[in-house]
């Protein structure tokens, strides 16, 4: 089966400021792990748009995206029944580790892929704390969804307009977290890395292809050069290095 398939939009609704949730129906057999992404072709735009997978079942999958440019703006205007050409099941995704007390840590549009991961961790009997960081109240989304599948959920906002004032690391202080799974902006990943807790970090990059053809998203790691699209987007804290 081709990795490019046509998907039909089942719903596309606004869930927070500039943030939309889209459900697409079609073959999902190429999705193998939470944390993977898809690459979406849009009319009039040359390169595809890489977006992480929020959740999936046998007939459909969900993405949550923020309008940040032409591509996502076009997507936000699409309606039920419209079709999208999508390259499926890209990237390595998260791996469940043998650690009992874990956290899923998301920042902004980094929150979505952690939902499917939280479900998977719960299904494997882990104690799961979700820490969801946003800038301010109007940006907050998915809190209820995480509450339904996690043992504890903490929401932080930078300005304190909702939940705990501060960053995700503020909410993590003093909690029993042996291991974490994270996705979010680079400063957040860097702060998590500094805590010394082992975990998995999912990175974002401007990509050419999304499947290892162009080397457009290569980064240096302690275990050699890696392409964020193929050997990532999820990397282990022990292999990641942040340039100062």
């Amino acid at each position: 089966m081709d990795h490019i398939q046509i998907y039909t939009i089942k719903s596309n609704v606004k869930i927070a400021e500039d943030t939309f949730k889209m459900v697409l129906s079609g073959d999902t057999s190429l999705i193998t792990a939470p944390g993977q992404f898809v690459n979406i072709q849009l009319d009039g735009l040359y390169l595809r748009r890489p977006i992480s997978i929020h959740d999936w079942d046998e007939q459909s999958f969900t993405i949550i995206y923020k309008v940040v440019g032409k591509g996502t703006e076009q997507m936000s205007k699409m309606a039920e029944g419209e079709k999208l050409d999508i390259l499926m099941g890209l990237g390595n995704g998260y791996t469940v580790m043998d650690k009992q007390n874990v956290a899923v840590v998301g920042g902004g549009v980094g929150v979505p892929p952690l939902y499917a991961m939280a479900k998977k961790l719960k299904a494997e009997g882990k104690h799961v704390i979700a820490v969801l960081g946003f800038g301010y109240k109007d940006q907050v989304f998915c809190e209820e969804e995480f509450k339904a599948v996690c043992d504890e959920v903490y929401v932080t906002t930078n300005d304190g307009s909702y939940g705990i004032k501060g960053f995700v690391t503020t909410a993590m202080e003093g909690k029993n977290i042996e291991y974490f799974y994270a996705c979010g902006p680079e400063p957040m990943l860097k702060a998590l890395h500094k805590t010394g807790i082992p975990g998995q970090l999912s990175f974002e990059a401007r990509m050419g292809c999304g499947f290892g053809g162009c080397m457009g998203c290569s980064c240096k790691t302690l275990t050699g050069y890696k392409r964020i699209c193929v050997e990532g987007p999820v990397m282990l804290t022990e292999e990641v290095t942040f340039d100062e």
């Binding site: 040359y46 401007r206 050419g208 162009c214």
Partner: protein
């Protein structure tokens, strides 16, 4: 006879469709999408004497109908390519591949070409004197007829396999450079490499990619490439591989009519990893539409 078959010098390709260097890794990355054996050949990731990480991120920006990239020749170096990359590709592709070679001095080009020359899997040595994304070398050799000829002559002295020179479009007279390469013994010409481009982020007011200027490719540059293939075809007798924005079977025919014996598909592989397969599948029906019996009949038809 296979109506898609074409020749590049002594090498026969079952069809003229070749993924271009830098858009197809070392080939095996695409084996999960389709059987690579359908391809006429493939041009591997540009290889240098020493390993290179390439340029800082971001390396990519989108344009209208195209992309600018500043990868900067990331590759593991010739020794690792021969030890690791070629063996990984070997079980997945039976025909000869094109080794794409870059360097920062004539000696480096000669060294890397000589190493590839010993490899059975390699059918053609493609000498890239046109990479716009490295500070020294690369394009510096491809923007002067004298330097291009010098690289070509020295490589030819050291190798047995056919040498194709990959030319830069960022010159005032592409014909003079192509002729200089032919006189220096080149067995063929690949053109064009990327055009020098730039994109600026309106929010920051700064160029998007880390090197500021970078290589522009994609369907947007196709007319420039067709024009250059046409000009070079009039001036040289050696075969030409046409490159520049090819995305459809119709594009392949257009390049061949301009004078290309085969073509390379570049940026389109990044948008659609099935691009080469789809083009090969579409060629017979497009040929029928234009009443083309054999592809080799139309080479240079526009002249």
């Amino acid at each position: 006879m296979n109506k898609l078959e074409v020749k590049l010098g002594d090498l026969t390709l079952k069809n003229p469709v070749i993924p271009a260097s830098g858009t197809f890794g070392f080939g095996y990355e695409f084996a999960r999408f389709y059987d690579l054996n359908i391809l006429g050949s493939m041009s591997l990731k540009g290889t240098t004497k020493d390993p290179r990480y390439g340029n800082p991120l971001p390396r990519i920006a989108e344009t209208e109908r195209g992309i600018i990239n500043a990868i900067g020749l990331q590759n593991p170096g010739i020794d690792a390519v021969i030890a690791n990359e070629l063996p990984k590709l070997k079980p997945l592709y039976n025909d000869k591949v094109i080794a794409n070679i870059s360097g920062f001095s004539v000696d480096e080009y000669v060294h890397t070409a000589s190493m590839f020359d010993k490899e059975d899997q390699v059918g053609i040595l493609e000498i890239n004197i046109s990479c716009p994304n490295v500070k020294a070398g690369g394009m510096a050799f491809g923007t002067s007829a004298e330097n291009a000829a010098m690289v070509c002559r020295e490589v030819k002295k050291a190798v047995k396999k056919p040498v194709f020179m990959k030319l830069s479009p960022n010159v005032t007279d592409i014909v003079a450079i192509a002729k200089a390469c032919e006189e220096a013994g080149a067995d063929g010409i690949s053109l064009i490499n990327t055009m020098l481009g730039m994109r600026i982020d309106l929010k920051t007011g700064k160029p998007i990619v880390s090197t500021k200027m970078a290589g522009f490719s994609g369907p947007a540059i196709k007319p420039v490439a067709v024009r250059m293939v046409y000009q070079v075809y009039e001036a040289v007798k050696i075969p030409i591989i046409g490159i520049g924005g090819i995305a459809t079977a119709e594009d392949v025919i257009e390049f061949m009519m301009a004078g290309a014996s085969a073509v390379q598909v570049g940026a389109q592989n990044l948008v659609n990893p099935y691009a080469c397969r789809d083009i090969i599948n579409d060629l017979p029906k497009v040929m029928e539409k234009y009443r083309i019996e054999k592809l080799s009949d139309i080479i240079g038809k526009a002249h």
